[in-house]
Symmetry: C2
Subunit: 258 residues, 2 copies
């Protein structure tokens, strides 16, 4: 267990309380496979609070997702980073990442099972108010949280950040019980207009409560500083879209966690 330097939370714009973000590596199982996730929460209170599952991009669970979990903990949530690939499986380059991500993208049943195993860990945490649970994900993780919704999981909402939105089984949209927010780079070359149209059709046909935000000038990976800043590569950080999509997520949470 690691204790971070105390940070200050501004509550209601009127006063501050001291918070300690506690983090913890957690081993858990899906079938016979060992997975290694990461928990973060503020221990200034022991009150039950909403839980947010965080699903990693194609490189697996990295410091990037852990930092997001700490940010979510600072906002007052219990955050748990799921591990989809398995303990020790942390691709070191994009070739390895592609191999791992493809395993799950081509086996959506396995992907759903893995992400639900992470959701179970979150929901069993005694600090989590299980009536108020969401999932967010980045790139591969964005795809994954939409698959979580398609699996029929019981949660309030999912947020995809530059996730692949296509589905090999669009009829599964009918299983979705939660609200869906898709944050999408308007210049993201990895989703074709046909992919987006299919995603919209899936949710429309299934009468899901959804919204999609297109951020002008943003390509794939727009929330990730490690993606660099060259839009011509098709994946790049975009500070403006990063901040806006984070604010949009917070607004979504304010609505679904009422």
């Amino acid at each position: 267990m690691k204790k971070l330097i105390p940070v200050f939370l501004a509550l209601a714009g009127a006063f501050s309380v001291q918070a300690k973000i506690v983090t913890q590596t957690i081993e858990y199982k899906q079938g016979d496979v060992t997975l290694e996730g990461f928990l973060a929460y503020d221990d200034a209170t022991s009150a039950a609070r909403p839980g947010v599952l965080v699903v990693h991009q194609w490189l697996g669970l990295t410091d990037y997702e852990k930092h997001r979990a700490e940010q979510l903990a600072s906002l007052g949530y219990v955050a748990f980073c799921a591990d989809i690939y398995g303990k020790g499986i942390r691709p070191q380059n994009t070739t390895e990442a592609g191999v791992e991500a493809t395993k799950y993208k081509t086996d959506r049943t396995l992907l759903r099972t893995r992400v639900n195993a992470g959701l179970d860990v979150l929901k069993k945490n005694k600090l989590v108010d299980t009536r108020r649970v969401a999932a967010i994900g980045y790139c591969f993780g964005g795809t994954t949280v939409i698959e979580l919704a398609r699996s029929g999981a019981e949660l309030n909402g999912v947020v995809s950040f530059h996730g692949g939105l296509d589905s090999p089984t669009p009829a599964d949209g009918k299983n979705i019980k939660c609200k869906v927010l898709a944050c999408h780079g308007a210049d993201d070359p990895s989703e074709t207009p046909a992919d987006l149209a299919a995603f919209e059709k899936e949710l429309r046909d299934a009468r899901v409560d959804w919204r999609l935000i297109k951020y002008g000038g943003a390509v794939h990976s727009f929330t990730q500083p490690m993606a660099g800043n060259d839009n011509s590569k098709g994946a790049a950080y975009n500070e403006r879209a990063d901040k806006r999509s984070w604010a949009d997520m917070k607004q979504f949470f304010a609505e679904i966690f009422q």
Copy 2:
């Protein structure tokens, strides 16, 4: 001048102040044409504050826009409803509305001139901090505020609610100096996918700072209770999308009025 019943504003979630929303009908001119707008502000303070222009839907300036102006005044803005059609020109049915709206949709130069006349009135109000000005519009008014931006007007941002986004002169996108937020019903039959794609291309090519939000399950007129609730007509109120788009507007203002 009319004084409304005092309302309470919650500021910073911590305390309340009593506010009086003052409203005023204002005559102004564009060339030889007399226009009749509507001003609303909170007179609990005389401090300069951001100004928001409100542009009406195809029926002309009605109680609907006046109520929006009062809502904006309650949020702390000076709000001014422009009159595009002219004093006394208030269509009584959709046939008349279609005739009026078409006049301006087919003469974008005139439309731009008319809306800029309203912007001038707002900017000259001594309560307005002219460095912080935005415009919002509904349906026809949504189209109009985008045209305002295309005219090269100096303001911080425009918000279109279910506005027509097409342009006969897409190269004019290069004149846009402000940020653009388009709030769009994902099931709005009045905008084709090609219209939306053209709008995005216009803003992309001109490197405008823009975003577009698609609200699932919403058709045209989704912010307007008078549109009824039958989506099959292509125009209907949608409370969920109404509330969300209003919240999205507020978040946009928080960003552009920093």
